[in-house]
């Protein structure tokens, strides 16, 4: 070591030791989270892979759900996710654009923000009850894809709004000023610069929100999920089977249920959700590589 940098050797060594120790502890703690997810995924795959087959994915349950596949549940979850997206994305992105681009910082926007934060904290079963009261009973949609999608959409809104707002705010203010100075209106500026630049971030937020919706059981429990349906739903007002609820049903309500089918269902749900997560990550990293600011 260079002489001018020399310190009393002892303290320097001691500091290095503490530094190493701290580093070791921190990396261990961080690795634990990885370990947990790996354990869960590996365990579920190990238990469920035997059940996996094309037939399992492409056929309906038979023999009181003790054999056959889970097609109606997969399709149902797809319907619910798409329905949630159709309802929540325009509302959520619209709200985010309002908050980020138009609203000034006043009492109203502060209340809106507090409401969004609190919505995110409400337990999902409460959303389920709310959906039962409002959509199923009061508005008379019945236990249906429509009512369940609406319930899930409300639950998803805060995630979409806050991630979309964050993505919009990350677009440099100078772009907006320049666009306005060139004779642009606020809306032209949003449409031509701010939204395209924020889009990857918004899509990521939307996917993460929908992923949560796809995996939830409680909100659809009273609003749209069916125990068992011999055929696929044909209208928005039909109830539907769904993966998370199906998993709950076959794990707790059906005696003599083969364990591979339970875990096989869990694998499919996990792949569905983690797949969405993966897509979100890919979009995010691609956009980051392409970004010009």
């Amino acid at each position: 070591m260079n002489n001018s940098m020399a310190q009393p050797a002892k303290t320097s060594k001691k500091r290095m030791l503490i530094q190493r120790l701290a580093f070791a502890i921190m990396s261990f703690v961080a690795s634990l989270t990885v370990l947990v997810i790996v354990l869960i995924v590996v365990y579920i795959f190990a238990m469920g892979y035997e059940a996996l087959s094309f037939e399992f994915i492409l056929s309906p349950p038979s023999d009181g759900m003790r054999s056959g596949g889970i097609l109606p549940a997969i399709i149902g979850t797809l319907y619910l996710t798409i329905g949630t997206g159709i309802l929540a994305v325009p509302l959520g992105v619209g709200a985010a654009i309002y908050l980020s681009e138009y609203a000034s910082d006043n009492q109203l926007t502060r209340i809106i923000r507090i409401a969004i934060t609190n919505l995110a904290g409400i337990p999902s079963v409460v959303y389920g009850l709310f959906g039962l009261g409002l959509f199923v009973l009061f508005l008379g949609f019945g236990t249906s894809i429509l009512a369940a999608s609406m319930t899930l959409a409300i639950m998803t809104l805060p995630v979409i709004i806050s991630t979309a707002e964050e993505a919009l705010r990350a677009v440099p203010q100078s772009f907006r000023v320049v666009s306005i100075s060139l004779g642009g209106t606020r809306w032209q500026t949003i449409r031509k610069i701010v939204l395209p630049e924020a889009l990857p971030g918004i899509i990521t937020g939307v996917i993460l929100g929908l992923e949560r919706a796809a995996g939830e059981t409680a909100p659809i429990l009273f609003t749209g999920a069916a125990f068992f349906l011999p055929q696929l739903p044909t209208s928005l007002y039909d109830p539907t089977m769904a993966l998370p609820y199906h998993l709950f049903v076959i794990s707790t309500q059906v005696p003599g249920m083969p364990i591979q089918i339970q875990f096989g269902t869990a694998v499919v749900l996990l792949v569905f959700v983690l797949g969405m997560n993966l897509i979100a990550s890919i979009i995010r990293s691609r956009a980051r590589a392409r970004r010009q600011w």
């Binding site: 440099p172 100078s174 772009f175 000023v177 320049v178 666009s179 306005i180 100075s181 060139l182 004779g183 642009g184 209106t185 032209q188 031509k192 610069i193 630049e197 970004r291 010009q292 600011w293």
Partner: protein, 255 residues
């Protein structure tokens, strides 16, 4: 047609921000047509504020009150009912840091037309060449117009911003310390462009140094803490200033 002597006439103009910082008090200033007018003085004197009032960009800021008039071709642009979109097409602006939009070089230039709904491709293509030539950038970028604008160097980016402000042929160009981040060679290129441009445009420049003010000014206005201290021809202001505060600033005693 008679060309009026003064493109912009500022009368008893005052402005105050909500947070109380950097305001202007009772400014009276005439900005002559087809000349380069510099607004100079220490930081926080209100030069940028005045600049941003001339294209109403201050509408985006938290302004508490404005008083007085700013006449552009005899029209008070502070009028609440004024169409700020057309005003900003008539008054171009270049900022201190080059802000290229996340588009290609070409689309950075044509963005103004895009906003205005102009689709005449002949006009657009001609304007691209003209504005880049005016900004002394054409030779450097003519073969790479479709590359991302941020692949240009800082100096090129700033000249692109200048070209962008020129493409719709405004009457007035406002420049807020356009060379503050540039090397001396790029700075010289921009200054030379401005000298050419003033034949066709009225230019208002906030320079990044007293030296630049002295080099470029036809008319110079000295601002200190929100007040216009002195205004005169560039030669007069920088050789025989009347006010001792101007003199001491030019000599580098403060600021």
């Amino acid at each position: 047609m008679v060309t009026p002597m003064d493109k912009i006439i500022i009368e008893n103009f005052s402005i105050e921000y909500s947070d109380g910082v950097e305001s202007l008090r009772n400014i009276n200033l005439r900005i002559p047509t087809n000349q380069l007018t510099v607004l100079f003085g220490p930081a926080g004197g209100g030069k940028s504020t005045l600049l941003r009032s001339i294209n109403r960009l201050n509408d985006l800021a938290d302004v508490k009150t404005t008083q007085g008039k700013i006449l552009l071709d005899q029209v008070n642009i502070l009028d609440k009912k004024l169409d700020t979109i057309s005003l900003r097409r008539k008054v171009g602006m270049v900022f201190a840091r080059p802000v290229v939009l996340p588009f290609s070089i070409r689309r950075n230039l044509t963005y103004g037309f895009e906003l205005a709904g102009v689709r005449d491709t002949t006009l657009i293509d001609e304007s691209v060449v003209r504005s880049l030539t005016q900004a002394a950038l054409w030779e450097e970028v003519k073969d790479r117009l479709d590359e991302p604008a941020n692949s240009l160097s800082g100096g090129q980016q700033q000249r692109l911003c200048l070209a962008r402000s020129l493409i719709q042929q405004p009457d007035v160009i406002l420049l807020d310390e356009p060379t503050s981040g540039l090397d001396p060679i790029s700075t010289l290129k921009v200054e030379n462009s401005l000298q050419e441009l003033k034949k066709d445009y009225t230019i208002v420049l906030v320079p990044h140094s007293v030296q630049q003010a002295a080099r470029t000014a036809d008319t110079a206005a000295f601002f200190l803490q929100g007040e216009l201290i002195e205004v005169g021809s560039g030669v007069d202001i920088f050789t025989k200033p009347k006010d001792s505060r101007t003199q001491r600033y030019i000599e580098g005693r403060y600021g």
